[in-house]
Amino acid sequence: MKRSTLFVGQLLFTLLVCAFMLVPVLMSLLAGLTRNYFQGISSGLTFEWLVQVWQAYAPTVWLSLQLAAACALCVCVVGVPAAYGLVRMNNRFSRAFEELMVLPVAMPGLASALALLLTYGQFGEFRSSWLFILVGHVLFTLPFLVRPVMAVMQRQHLPVLEEAAASLGAGPIRRFFNVVLPNCRAGILAGVLMVVTLSLGEFNLTWMLHTPMTKTLPVGLADSYASARLEVASAYTLIFLMMIVPLLIALQAISSRLSRGEKR
């Protein structure tokens, strides 16, 4: 089969773009495993940097996971009822509120962090605990859950299902738990997936809000880039990827299975 020069050109261009995007990732991963980056691969491969990173920064990994989980939980508890309320109200006020909610995403993280510090900085206990960072993360990730959940709730059949439950005697709270929640699972899961991802990688806000005792993974990464060898920082990236990629794949699988079940 004879392929046109146009096809070959397109293929080459695609491969070139792929390489442009992927090579830096591979270089970074490789750097984390190389004994001496400036001498190149010829200096030999080693796990020494990985071990060193783990010894110095393991607490940041655990704190990041803890933060992401707590953030997802808080955002669900606040965001799902909020989405329900906004969909139900559907007036000028609710639409304005929806826009306001996105403001912390549009604003530089540093600005929101500064506002939090100015207001709550004097409460020492709170300021120095990881909960302070949690507040920032919840603020930042809330719209990423509320939006997909609202989209699912706006589908036509949900109000009718609620009316059906009401006709069978169920009051508003029971309807929320029996009808609204189970039929919004796909939206909630998509939102949680986004929230966890964003919380794990969040740097702007966190960098302003953290204390030496509450360093998250991305903050630790910045720390190691600034203060340690390039190889250590690269090994850190490797650890970050090893942690987040399986997590994301698992969450994605759960969510796609759930939404498939709903479509049938």
Partner: protein, 341 residues
């Protein structure tokens, strides 16, 4: 399970955009009666049902169930069963889960729930389907599950919103029969909304025909068909031939195509008759016209006869004699089947 009387007293409902869906509606539905609310889309029939259900609150007026005023009660406290247009079955629960939902809400024990569920599955003929998922059911089965779910808590009133509209024609016919038997057996007060006159006639003890948010006529199916209150009811329920009267003759009315027998003293401008009341004659008849179309429908044929009026006449003929299209034929009519509006 005995029904309750439902009374709407001067109910009016307008929507946010100002359109009035229901104007000052007064309506009494007797206990145990099946009322069909019939009308074209946008006539206020669904709003009327939702007012009875408690899904809408009237702007003015009262809704009475028996002697109690339920105007301000939401649907969950009215003790009504409702079958929704697309059934609104809970996709996250199986068939049995759907049926017992209302019993669970009322706090019945698991043993009681299972017993009632089995009774209802038997009632609607789905004994082996309790564990099925909703998406595994056919349209007809979903309709039955919706009915069983609505009946499970033994409501005093059953409300049905276009209960058969989502089904294909044959299934609709069969389920209509089953539904009729069921409603009669239960003696429950039932109200259903439909735009299908056949369904309304077959199921309703009485039919409420609505037009632009008002009652056009409330009467038994027979009365609605034979003595329609106005031209809207007459043309919405069944087909109608209209004759414009040209002048009075000694013993009849001159219309285009011939002369109709008429022995009343009044002189109407228009008289009407149903298609099945015109008879095709060999040569002698009241009217003469040209056969411009014919449609074989099994037990009878629908003929279109041009008598020179704006619309061809509709004739339902059960006679075996076949006339070729284009032939001149005569039509006879009895004076008592002609009516005015």
């Amino acid at each position: 399970m005995t029904g309750t009387t439902i009374r709407l007293e001067g109910c009016r409902k307008a929507f946010a955009d100002g359109t009035v869906a229901v104007h000052d509606l007064n309506l009494t539905i007797e206990a145990g009666e099946t009322l069909a609310i019939l009308g074209p889309s946008g006539c206020g029939k669904t709003t009327t049902l939702r007012l009875i259900a408690g899904l809408e609150r009237p702007d003015v007026g009262r809704v009475m169930f028996g002697d109690s005023d339920v105007t301000r009660l939401p649907i969950e406290r009215r003790d009504v069963g409702m079958v929704f247009q697309n059934y609104a079955l809970f996709p996250n629960l199986d068939v049995a889960g759907n049926i017992v939902y209302g019993l669970k809400v009322r706090g019945l024990s698991a043993a009681e729930r299972n017993k009632r569920c089995a009774e209802l599955l038997e009632l609607v003929g789905l004994e082996d389907h309790g564990k099925r998922r909703i998406h595994e059911l056919s349209g007809g089965q979903r309709q039955r599950v919706a009915l069983a779910r609505a009946l499970a808590p033994r409501p005093k009133v059953l409300l049905l919103d276009e209960p058969l509209a989502a089904l294909d024609a044959q299934l609709r016919e069969r389920l209509r029969g089953e539904l009729d038997q069921l409603l009669r057996g239960l003696g429950i007060t039932a109200v259903f909304v439909t735009h299908d006159q056949g369904e309304a006639m077959a199921l309703g003890d009485r039919i409420l025909v609505m037009e632009h948010g008002r009652v056009a006529q409330l009467a038994s199916p027979r009365e609605i068909y034979q003595q329609p209150a106005n031209a809207f009811v007459a043309s919405f329920v069944g087909n109608l031939n209209a004759f414009s009267v040209i002048e009075r003759t000694t013993d009849g009315l001159k219309v285009s195509g011939g002369e109709l027998p008429w022995n009343c003293t009044s002189l109407p401008t228009t008289v009407y008759c149903r298609p099945e009341h015109l008879r095709v004659m060999e040569c002698q008849g009241h009217l003469r016209g040209r056969l411009v179309g014919q449609f074989f429908q099994g037990a009878q044929s629908r003929l279109l006869v041009d008598v020179g009026a704006a619309q061809p006449l509709l004739v339902d003929s059960a006679e075996g004699v076949i006339h070729p299209t284009g032939a001149l034929i005569a039509l006879a009519v009895q004076p008592q089947v002609l009516f005015t509006l």
